[in-house]
């Protein structure tokens, strides 16, 4: 008997893999899944800023783009190239500026960590190659075999 451990990102392919394994006569009781949860560094109180909140890396970029876009487009009515071009240019400048500020100053408490799914499959030695092949077609990140 041997045990195969494989690591995945959580996605639909995990479920496809489980279905595929069952179709290949691997029993459900021989498979176990573990969720490796992304760990958040610290938490101060319930209502404080949520460190897992992932959207905020682009918050300031979109906000600055709007502000710069409105002002740039308005002033553009007086400039030679007109409001469209100045609106676009100032929006892009605003977005980059906001993004850079967010990137350097707010990134510290937003370190993004990923969740993973670890699947352990218990099988006979002759099934190993088949399972490896199935895992490879489902975007496996890493795989190891433990002989026992």
């Amino acid at each position: 008997m041997s045990n195969i451990l494989c690591l995945f990102r959580p996605s639909l392919s995990v479920e496809l893999l489980l279905t595929e394994l069952q179709r290949n006569k691997i029993k459900k009781s021989d498979i176990s899944c573990f969720i490796l949860k992304a760990q958040t560094p610290f938490k101060n109180g319930l209502t404080d800023k949520d460190p897992t909140e992932t959207t905020s890396l682009a918050d300031l970029g979109f906000i600055f783009a709007t502000v710069f876009g409105v002002v740039g487009a308005s002033i553009g009515f007086r400039l030679t190239l007109g409001p469209i071009i100045w609106g676009i240019v100032s929006s892009i400048i605003g977005f980059l500026l906001g993004f850079i500020i967010d990137y350097f100053f707010t990134r510290a408490y937003k370190q993004k960590s990923h969740s993973f799914v670890l699947i352990s499959i218990c099988c006979r030695s002759e099934q190993e190659t088949l399972i490896k092949k199935i895992a490879e077609t489902h975007q496996v990140l890493g795989l190891t075999v433990i002989e026992s």
Binding site: K28, T54, T55, V71, A73, I75, S91
Partner: protein, 251 residues
């Protein structure tokens, strides 16, 4: 059965409780009244406010006055504004900002109450009318589609109601501001730059930056949220159905 659901999915899209910085939501209400509420998945309220914003802003000529103010032509700015409409605008505007801030703060409290509970939800709503399912999508693709035409990113990230209203408003605003016409004139003959500026309607044109960037932000952040939701739902399922306690584990 949990008292408060964390997330739902039906044929109009998915919705979940999430952490939102109240200041960011309030900002989007300030940029375009209605957007803040859309970000919080309050689509009826958001659409009503959106409609009012356009009616009141258009009639008060607020955007036009803003253009004149930014140029430095304060005399024109004062003359162009409609006093009656602008006085309606003021309470309306601040109500939007205040209400979205307050709601975001309250929803954050509900989020902290529910975030540790497992995600039990419908992951596929298959109907003859419309099909919607939970999977992972790319946040940047969503925002690029919304930059190209506000509303498309919302369609991509399965937000049917804001997608339809944003698409309708995009068409209305683009057609009325003549931006694309101006662009066309400029591209065909760059010497006709003045003519291409004159063709643009400043009142409608100033809706565009907020519309584009607001919907791009909405599409981006909602895709990130739904991807997160997908992972949590998958984890709940795997833990329940495929966890170590369900099988014999021998390593």
């Amino acid at each position: 059965m949990a008292r408060r659901k964390r997330a739902i999915l039906d044929y109009c899209g998915s919705s979940s409780l999430n952490y939102h910085r109240p200041a960011v939501v309030a900002w989007w209400s300030a940029a375009f009244p209605g957007f803040g509420h859309t970000l919080l998945d309050m689509h009826v309220k958001g659409n009503v406010l959106f409609l009012f914003e356009i009616i009141i802003n258009f009639n008060s000529k607020l955007n036009l006055a803003m253009v004149y103010s930014f140029i430095g032509d304060f005399k024109h700015a004062t003359n162009v504004i409609n006093t009656q409409w602008i006085l309606i605008y003021i309470p309306f505007y601040f109500y939007c900002i205040w209400d979205s801030y307050r709601t975001a703060a309250k929803l954050n409290l509900l989020y902290t109450l529910t975030k540790d509970q497992p995600v039990e939800m419908n992951v596929l709503d298959l109907r003859s009318l419309e099909t919607c399912f939970l999977d992972k999508r790319l946040p940047w693709v969503a925002s690029v589609w919304s930059i190209l035409l506000p509303g498309l990113g919302q369609l991509y990230t399965r937000r049917l109601i804001p997608a339809i209203s944003l698409l309708a408003w995009s068409v209305a605003i683009y057609v009325n501001c003549h931006e694309l016409q101006g662009m066309q004139l400029f591209i065909i003959d760059p010497a006709k730059v003045n003519e291409s500026i004159q063709v643009i309607d400043a009142e409608w044109f100033l809706f565009i930056p907020s519309l584009i960037w607001g919907s791009a932000y909405d599409a981006y952040s909602k895709t990130v949220e739904t991807n997160h939701l997908f992972e949590e739902e998958l984890s709940t399922y795997l833990y329940r159905e495929w966890g170590a306690n369900q099988s014999r584990l021998n390593i």
